[in-house]
């Protein structure tokens, strides 16, 4: 008995739909991956750059959290050595505040704890407190080198 086969057009349509769906899913996935990767570009701001940022201006810092009290954070500014290594800076400590609009990337809000390494992007107020728009959890992705001067 001969096998019943659909017309050629049906086979072409099946393959076209398959390739179309595969392309759409992959484009959607890659777009998401690249967007997230773009958001993970770590800050190059050194202590001097941060110190020179005017109140109201945007700032992006990488800090090691020393204190977390509610939505108020305090941490030590880190200087970038390379993509994965940061050195404890000699600059002032950074105070930041989490707002309801703060988004947490690469982790969960519970990861914002003393000892964590985070990148905070936001705006400085008149009291030089950084109002966080985005917190990127870098713990585990970067390592902190001890300062050659202080040995901390």
């Amino acid at each position: 008995m001969q096998e019943r086969t659909p017309p050629l057009n049906a086979a072409v349509a099946k393959w076209t739909i398959f390739l179309l769906v595969l392309t759409i899913v992959m484009v959607w996935a890659m777009r998401g991956v690249l967007q997230r990767a773009g958001g993970m570009h770590t800050a190059n701001d050194s202590a001097s750059v941060f110190a020179g940022t005017a109140p109201g201006g945007p700032a992006k810092v990488v800090i090691r959290l020393d204190q977390v009290v509610g939505n108020r954070l305090r941490g030590t500014l880190l200087d970038r050595e390379n993509d994965t290594a940061y050195r404890i800076g000699l600059g002032p400590t950074v105070a930041a505040i989490l707002t309801p609009e703060t988004s947490v990337v690469m982790g969960r809000p519970q990861d914002i704890a003393p000892g964590a390494v985070v990148q905070i992007a936001g705006a400085l107020d008149n009291g030089r407190v950084l109002h966080a728009k985005q917190v990127v959890i870098l713990t585990g992705y970067v390592h902190v080198l001890k300062s050659a001067v202080t040995g901390r």
């Binding site: 099946k14 890659m30 991956v33 994965t84």
Partner: protein, 132 residues
């Protein structure tokens, strides 16, 4: 390329291979003018299955070698590990199905289908839980 990109690209690559492998039996089942037997026409399905497992293993390797589990859903990682084991089981069942004569072929096909459904579900839950 950083750890995130390696894990993300390998993970989505594995999803693409698994999805393509899953679609092959439906796409290759009946094709006009195909004179070769069905099982011989299924070679893309076999190789996509093996590749999906291999790339999934590489994805797991990239993720685990960093040793950083902060911010990662542990349940999602366990689900992914179980999915990987089921993929290995799926390959074993698939290899048995390459023999066209076994008496329990119907049962094997049913097992192969439901394992595929289970793995697809586990992958979907893993993606939902472990996307950064």
């Amino acid at each position: 390329m950083n750890d995130y990109l390696q894990a993300a690209f390998s993970g989505w690559g594995a999803v693409a291979l698994f999805g393509s492998g899953l679609a092959m039996p439906y796409l290759l089942r009946k094709t006009r003018g195909a004179n070769t037997p069905y099982l011989r026409r299924m070679w893309p399905h076999f190789w996509l299955g093996y590749l999906a497992f291999l790339v999934s293993f590489v994805h797991a390797w990239f993720t685990m070698r960093s040793g950083n589990m902060r911010g990662i859903s542990v349940a999602g990682v366990w689900i992914a590990s179980i999915a990987l084991l089921f993929m290995l089981w799926q390959i074993a069942v698939g290899l048995m199905l390459r023999n066209p004569t076994p008496s329990n072929r119907r049962a094997l096909r049913r097992t192969h289908f439901w394992t595929m459904t289970l793995v697809a579900g586990l992958i979907a839950v893993h993606i939902a839980l472990n996307r950064p």
